[in-house]
Amino acid sequence: MSDARAIMHDGLWRQNAGLVQLLGLCPVLVISSNVVNAVSLGLATCAVMMLSGMAVASLRRWIPQTLRVPIFMLIIATLVTVVDLLFSAYAHGLYRVLGIFIPLITTNCIVLARAEVFASRQPVARAALDGAAMGAGLTAVLAVLGALRELAAQGTLLSGIDLVFGAAARGWVIQVTPADAHYQFLLAALPPGAFFGLAFLIAGKSAWDRRIARRTGPAPLATVPDGAGG
């Protein structure tokens, strides 16, 4: 099913929210200071996107054009609040760490953008897949950025995992630099570090894309809309 693959490819790479569309940047930059936070928020966003995609796609017949944006926002805000309530009940530690960034998924531009651009014109299944793919793409970026920053800042991976899986998970933390070296590079943990990290990720992607393009020759001819040229 190449259609689904195309949607996945778009979401994960070609139209990646964090690297290409540059939407939903605020949580990406703030919450990516370690892997656990990053992935948690990424998955929450992913869930909201999938659900809102489905909701919008299934309800689109009843949504008047002029009230589109407020109603989309209504749907998204509701779903986000549901997620927020669930976090507060079942992952309280994480709930405190993520703070206002859970409610802020509401205004995460990528959610509304997908609702508007994709979900409001597509069947439910595709909308769900698109939401999931976009969310997964965002989560992937968050995970990579989180890992890079956590490594650079404190030389660990998965610190804070106990907030998700309880105190038992404390041992899962991977100490990359020797603990007694007190390694730290604070810049990486601060917002500027997030900006630099994302910049280098995007630069890397663009360099990679260019290399691929060089290897495979110029892009294939764009499809000409039917009836054009006459």
């Binding site: 002029t66 009230l67 407020p70 110029p218 892009a219 764009a222 054009a228 040229g229």
Partner: protein, 183 residues
């Protein structure tokens, strides 16, 4: 629960009514963006962009359906202007639509022309004169170099030639300062 429903319901009724009224009052004006985009296109009308002329392409850009890098006659400079107008990042010309090349003019080889008028029908800017069965000529000052007249000619008598350079038409070149040693 009831309180919640009442509160949100009240808010929604208030805002919904406001917006409902607002939506009607909002006039949908013609999109002035199309004109501004069209003004930046070279008007060669060559259809290389994949649209049947410059204006349709302008409309497609305004509607967000087309990229700004599909017009070879406009070249990088044209893309730069479009990017400036639309606040987008510059992207290089999409080679799939053709290469940017210096403007050339159509010249009809008058010894071969059979006067079939096919080229006249093809020319989007009426730059070819001549009546049926008469020899045809291109008005150089009005030819946009779109090459649309080349293909229909049954005897292949139309050639695209680059106008020669004279001191009057000569332009100062971009000062080439070899800073980079390799790309």
């Amino acid at each position: 629960m009831l309180q919640a429903l009442a509160a949100m319901g009240g808010l929604a009724v208030l805002l919904g009514a406001l917006l409902g009224v607002a939506a009607l009052r909002l006039r949908v004006a013609a999109n002035p963006l199309v004109d501004r985009i069209d003004a930046l296109l070279p008007q060669t009308q060559c259809a290389q962009c994949g649209y049947p002329g410059c204006r349709p392409y302008a409309e497609a850009i305004a509607a967000g359906e087309a990229q700004i890098n599909q017009c070879p006659p406009g070249g990088d400079e044209g893309i730069r202007r479009l990017a400036g107008l639309l606040g987008q990042e510059f992207i290089p010309l999409n080679r799939a639509h053709g290469e940017a090349k210096p403007k050339r003019l159509a010249v009809i080889d008058e010894r071969v022309c059979i006067g079939c008028t096919l080229c006249i029908q093809a020319c989007p800017v009426d730059a070819i004169v001549g009546a049926a069965r008469q020899m045809h000529t291109v008005i150089a000052s009005e030819c946009t170099g779109c090459e649309l007249c080349v293909a229909p000619c049954p005897v292949d008598c139309i050639e695209m030639v680059a106008p020669g350079e004279t001191p009057a038409s000569w332009r100062w070149r971009y000062p080439v300062i070899p800073l980079k040693v390799s790309a």
